[in-house]
Amino acid sequence: MDYNGIEQQLAGCGRGGRGAAILRALQQPTRRPVSASDAPEKPGISTPAATAAPPMSSGLMGRGGLLASLAASHASSISIQQPTFQPVAVATPRQQQVAATGATPMGRGALSQAAPPSGVGMQISAGHQEALQRLSSGGRGIMLPDMGRQSISNGMAAPTPASASVQKDTIRTQVSPPVKEMQQLKLNEPVIMRGNAGVSVPVVANYLRVGVQPNMGLFEYHVAFVPEADSKNVRFKIMRSLQESLGEARTFDGSKLFLPHRLPQQFTTYQALHPITNEPVEVKIKFITQRAPGECINFFNILLRRLMRIMEMVSVGRHYYDPRNPAHIPQHKLEVWPGYITAINEFEGGLMLNTDVSHRVLRTQTVLEILFDLIRRCGSERLRDEATKVIVGCVVLTRYNNRTYRVDEIDWGKNPLSTFVNHQGEATSFRDYFKMHHDLSIQDLEQPLLLNRPKKRDIQEGGTELICLVPELCYMTGLTDAMRQDFRIMKDLALHTRVTPMQRRASLRQFVKNVNECTAAREKLQQWGLHLEGDLVNLDGRQLPPEDIIVGGGGTIRGTKECDWNRSLVHHPMLSVVNLTCWSVFYTKNDSGKANDFVAALCRLAPSMGMAVAAPQRLQLRDDRTDTFVRTIRENIRPELQMVVVVCPTARDDRYSAIKKLTYSEMPVPSQVINARTISQAGKLNSVTQKIALQLNCKLGGELWAVKIPLKDLMVIGIDVYHDAACKGRSIAGFVGSTNATITRFYNQVAFQAPGQELIDGLRICLTRQLREYSKINHSLPSKIIIYRDGVGDGQLAAVGSHEIAHLSEAFVSFGAYSPQLAVIVVQKRINTRIFSIQNHSQLDNPPPGTIVDHTITRRDWYDFFLISQHVRQGTVSPTHYVVVHNSTTLQPDHMQKLTYKMTYLYYNWPGTVRVPAPCQYAHKLAYLVGQHIHKEPSEHLANRLYYL
């Protein structure tokens, strides 16, 4: 009951007391069991008001209520006969957090009536000075359901993100839980949040139902040996000798035994022989419980990996690939292995296998070969720089032990003759070590060594702190960013990796066929009462109608199926325009012709787009050195200058970084860097210039187009995080929030995360500034805030859903009595879900933009949906997964989905819909620019325009 106790005590901590209470709870992970004196406070957790709230209230309320009632029905010690809103007085100072619990029903109950009275809240926290100070009247109720969840996940450190499954964990961690309660858990209802707008369309998803044979399941037993057997090996051997009685299918970890069937008795004793002494041993097996399928996900996935091995697939990283049919791309020294991504999970529609075709890119060169090639290409004096670029951060595969390491550094001071101290405490050279232990002779004795710093976790488990690798024995793997940006490579790769929906289905069907036709694999599944259904699931999806695009001059572009208004755009003026009256163009002598052509084209074309362009100041540079560029630009920046346009002879990163650093941080002025080659072709100049004109307008603070946003007083925020590839230990978050009703103007900020610091601190400051900016422009604060948060993995969902939100809402405090409706939606784009639309004759195609699936394959315990917003011409479209981790708005699922879809229209660097809501895409772009090039905070003066496009 330990955790239940914490959970309840924290369940509804008010904003003020929350931080302190959680901290305290975390600091004492093992609390004493809930004492009798705590019992009267228990009603706090149950929230009849919430469950009784109108069914149309927000999704979270429903869940909160559900959670509460589940908690109530499972934790037998909780009595809910008398739902009371009366706060419990603070008993002792030690129990201040418990006191906050008393506030819970108040806040929650009141929530359903929208505005919780503040009086009670004040009274409760009265004993808590800190809470009192931070408390803003009325605001706290809204947060409360989530506080509950937060405390659960923090207290438990539960890996499963959802409230309901957390509930399961809670029960599971109890000491010997009664079997009855366990079985009740299976009845937890999945979270179902469905919309019904749009047209119903039949779709297929890459999920396979996993059938569970009735009467079979995962039965847990405890095993004891008499006399005791110390060695695990001996225990395994004894258990193996009982195969006839127990059956072939079992997993045993030394004391816990899982069988696919129930033994007839609660206690069973077997006789066996000790494998070494041949003495008789008694094996006592006690039945513990039957696990619900949802609790066996890990086990199922291990089983699945075994199947893959049976089918002779080779694991590379996390997935399995077929090494026997690689596609060779010798001109790039690459190989592509086909394989499958597989994961069994319990979804809204039950137990299913999510499977997708995957390709693994492998390289056929050693690191040493790459080093030599680099020397020959750029000379040995530049080798170090080039090698660092190409090799550091790459993952290499060693040829002797089949392991992969990330290269964190190249140690130029070492070579294979350098020595290290082996585990016997003696110094050995790398050459001798590999000769002796692997019979590998290192040929090149002058090569540097590669360094890998193992993760903290590995060091704790007894690994060394630094691993040296010999380039000659390491093969490169994967693609580098440079390769990814190389069109030739990507084009050649795409030949093998780009798969149409039809091909994808065929290959997934083949996979199922392989499993079901492979006797060993099928039997392995059957032993555990499982089988794979033959075909991918069919579903009902919905398609939202395309949006009309509002442009300048009162014009509208009718929405099309492809959601692409590239062609129509240039025939309309931009939505709002900032005229270009004072600007400079910088170019080298070589590019002067191109620069002049460009300026002429811009002056000619921009007026039809609604933009007046004055003649620029033209500045020809002496040479193309980076510091010439920087110096000349710096000398010519004047306060009235609106825009710096730089024509660069080549796309060199260092020059680009220097220019951006100068213009965005040191001397803030919007800048536009143009690669000379882009404007070198006369045939393309017009269309290129039009696009640059659009971009210039954005950077000046203009708007290009809009869609209809039916919500009033709405603020939409996008957050994305850039992780420094060079692994400097700090991340950069882009924080982009809207400042007008049409969501077309944005305030753009970044938050730096120093090592050891939590990202959320920076985000809270950003939110405060964002609100301040909003109120400065609108003379009011938004009543609804929607935050789209990118860059969150599955494992962090619960943390974002509670911890982050709690921190973020602290930003509201500084605005007095302000408590907006808040929704936080996690945006996941790297997912393995694929959705295909069914055409005539069971042909499959990519679903058009606006297709939504919000049931069956969605998470069982989250409010989530899949949306395909972008149009693709080749390959298979990848849907984006949206998880509403927090919602105190009154928006229906339909509204949430529609709003999200509308947001994908507003990315001004693309005249079509994009994969994620525009604020997220902006945040990504901003964080990337800062992380990759600027490395410090951009000037505040630019924050109200899209200068980073």
Binding site: I276, V316, D481, D486, R915
Partner: protein, 400 residues
């Protein structure tokens, strides 16, 4: 009943039968003796001067020797035999082809097989072995088995090379806490004299030449006890031809069999063509960045085309190209024969026009909108660093 302490020790001995010398209080070996032993066996095989394609290891136990032998040049078949079925079964994964075996395929085939069986039973599947190793095996054999062994190995199987290792009893005096023999399952341990007597008789009887070596040098001052492990290397007299036995006999149980992926080397012209394609691409990137553009000598219709010029000399810097073409002249001939590239007027450089280069560095700011379909080249971050979004040609690239 045995105490759990004893059982533990026995179990340890069971599972660590290769490391017995490391357990005693006495000279320590670095690297461990068993590693030195395996390495010495490898060296003996490499240095024997015979063509060794098939090797059998009797008493393969943990399969660690076989694991090393698979990297031996020219080996095409490895066979491990052990009487303990479980031991071999548990350790068979050591011999499975690993990732790098698949990526960097051998030029010749390799088949690794594991059998459960006795060293004194004839199995026809071992009839054509070129080398047989008996590493720390004979001392585990009962008298009658040991007596039958020479005939089996040297008469029936008759490989060109036999390597036998066994503990040197003379050395045992240096292990202070050693009572009896080094391992509980040893039936005997021989002095150097005893071992050499046994070997000499065999060599004479079956017409082999034998020489002795060892690993595990004694500490200074104790040189007289010899090395810790003694090794005998038997080489068959060349005059004697193998008499093939025509016995149908397959008493061994096959436990595992692994076929290693292999790929014969392609014809040199194919190789060179692929290397050329790679290095031309590779060099282009550099030239693009440094922008050593030239105006083509004769552009079509007088229009100026930007080109990258790749000197043949530069290509010859790469050994994978120069090993097929000694000089510029040869390379030029080859390039002309492929018709894949255009040479400049003097025939000294390859000309790549920018159109064929494709606009790989088109953007000023490197990032491309993730509008495209995701190319599922894998999702594992460890392998593919950040971002799986691909630029789509001719789409966002226009959005400078």
């Amino acid at each position: 009943m045995a105490s759990s302490e004893q059982v533990k020790k026995q179990l340890e001995q069971l599972t660590q039968c290769t490391k017995e010398e490391e357990r005693y209080d006495g000279p320590k070996f670095s690297p461990p003796l068993y590693v030195q032993r395996y390495q010495q066996v490898c060296e003996e095989i490499k240095g024997c001067g015979l063509e060794i394609k098939q090797i059998a290891d009797f008493g393969c136990a943990e399969c660690k020797l076989l694991q090393r032998l698979k990297y031996l040049r020219g080996v095409q078949r490895l066979v491990g035999v052990d009487i303990d079925r479980n031991l071999v079964d548990w350790n068979q994964n050591r011999l499975k082809p690993i990732l790098s075996d698949f990526i960097h395929r051998r030029e010749t085939p390799l088949c690794v097989q594991l059998f459960c069986g006795s060293v004194v039973e004839y199995d026809q599947r071992l009839a054509n072995m070129d080398a047989i190793t008996l590493v720390e095996l004979i001392e585990h054999l009962h008298v009658e088995t040991l007596a039958a062994l020479p005939n089996m190995i040297f008469q029936q199987l008759q490989p060109s090379l036999v390597i036998v290792t066994t503990p040197n009893k003379d050395y045992n005096v240096l292990f202070k806490d050693l009572k009896g023999m080094r391992h509980w399952d040893h039936k005997f341990e021989w002095t150097r004299q005893e071992f050499q007597n046994w070997c000499n008789v065999i060599a004479a009887k079956f017409s082999y030449l034998v020489r002795y070596s060892g690993v595990g040098d004694p500490p200074p001052g104790s040189e007289s006890v010899g090395r810790c492990t003694q090794i005998a290397v038997f080489v068959k007299n060349k005059q004697q031809l193998r008499k093939s036995l025509m016995i149908e006999s397959r008493p061994y149980e096959l436990i595992a069999s692994f076929d290693y992926p292999y790929e014969p080397k392609p014809h040199w012209e194919t190789q060179l063509l692929l290397e050329m394609q790679y290095y031309v691409c590779f060099l282009c990137k550099q030239y693009e960045i440094e922008r050593q553009q030239l105006e083509a000598d004769e552009g079509s219709g007088g229009e100026v085309t930007a080109c990258v010029k790749i000197p043949l000399k530069k290509l010859l810097l790469f050994p994978k190209i120069s090993k097929h073409c000694r000089d510029v002249e040869e390379l030029r001939k080859f390039i002309l024969s492929t018709k894949q590239w255009v040479l400049d007027g003097k025939g000294c450089s390859i000309l790549i026009t920018l159109d064929t280069i494709q606009e790989s560095h088109f953007f000023d700011n490197g990032f491309h909108v993730g509008n495209g379909c995701e190319e599922n080249t894998g999702t594992d971050e460890a392998f593919l660093t950040s971002g799986s979004n691909l630029p789509l040609p001719e789409e966002e690239e226009l959005w400078t």
